[in-house]
């Protein structure tokens, strides 16, 4: 089974890192995975996308993901700025950093988590920006069940050891507790 995921973020928010961490987590569970940015001239603050594929079989394709199964939206404002559900499969899943259900129609299964508040509440802030990418992965793991929460945390700790890893792990747990279908 092949699952295709698209991350929406803003340049600098860590969408690419989130995709990489998710792939790393999946591989830890013996799955096959792939993560890639939309290669281009990325700019801080501009809407960006990143992609991941998770599969039980080796992944041969390197083409773009046109019809994702899941989209993860890192910034609530992106629901206005970008067409985040473009090409999303009919019964696809939206995992949103949002307090309330964003207006994406009725055909998708939508999960909400207030990742911004979680990051701020535990001091996960870099250069004035709440770090929401790892938080969203906690929500992703709980909402989809595609990867275990522990695998996400292991992948995050590998990349961010020590105190930063602790902070992130804490945020991931919190997100998993608070994510809900909305």
């Amino acid at each position: 089974m092949l699952v295709e995921i698209r991350f929406h973020g803003r340049g600098g928010q860590g969408a690419v890192t989130a995709a990489n961490l998710l792939a790393n987590a999946a591989v830890r569970e013996g799955k096959y995975a792939q993560a890639f940015p939309y290669f281009g001239a990325e700019r801080r603050g501009a809407p960006v996308v990143a992609f991941a594929r998770i599969s039980d079989e080796p992944i041969q394709t390197h083409s773009r993901i046109e019809h994702p199964d899941i989209v993860v939206v890192l910034d609530p404002k992106l629901f206005e700025l970008a067409n985040v559900t473009e090409g999303l499969k009919e019964n696809g899943i939206v995992i949103a950093n949002a307090r309330e259900k964003p207006d994406v129609g009725e055909t998708f299964k939508v999960y909400c988590v207030d990742a911004t508040s979680i990051a701020q509440s535990i001091g996960l802030v870099v250069s004035g920006w709440p770090v929401v990418n790892t938080v969203m992965l906690g929500a992703f793991a709980r909402a989809t069940g595609l990867v275990k929460l522990e695998s996400i945390i292991e992948a995050v700790r590998e990349q961010f050891p020590g105190k930063i890893g602790d902070l992130n792990a804490n945020a991931i747990m919190k997100a998993a507790e608070s994510v809900r279908e909305c």
Binding site: R10, R44, G45, P47, K77, L81, G128, W129
Partner: protein, 97 residues
């Protein structure tokens, strides 16, 4: 006399895609949406030195008649260079929304 020295612009006669572009405002869209923090000018502190106007990489500092400034929020990306450069602390970066 160099009779052939004047070049002539002539349309290509085979299907043609030239690697050129024509400058236009906001060719990548309204870049103001990229902003997470916006610069806010305190006109009481602004002396009209125009340092911010010189430094702005996006030409979004609007020069007022008295040389004081305002911001073009449609295109300002919120990079904060103006606030950083202002010698009079007249520009503050305020979180968006």
């Amino acid at each position: 006399m160099n009779v052939n020295s004047k070049p002539v612009l002539e349309e290509p006669k085979t299907v043609f895609f030239a690697p050129i572009s024509h400058p236009s405002p906001g060719s990548v869209g309204k870049t103001g949406t990229w902003r997470t923090h916006k610069p806010v000018v305190d006109l009481d502190k602004c002396t009209g030195c125009l340092i911010c106007w010189l430094y702005c990489p996006e030409d979004t500092i609007i020069r007022l008649e008295n040389d004081k400034v305002s911001i073009d929020y449609e295109y300002c990306k919120g990079c904060g260079i103006c606030a950083h450069q202002c010698p009079f602390d007249a520009i503050q970066m305020v979180p968006e929304g």
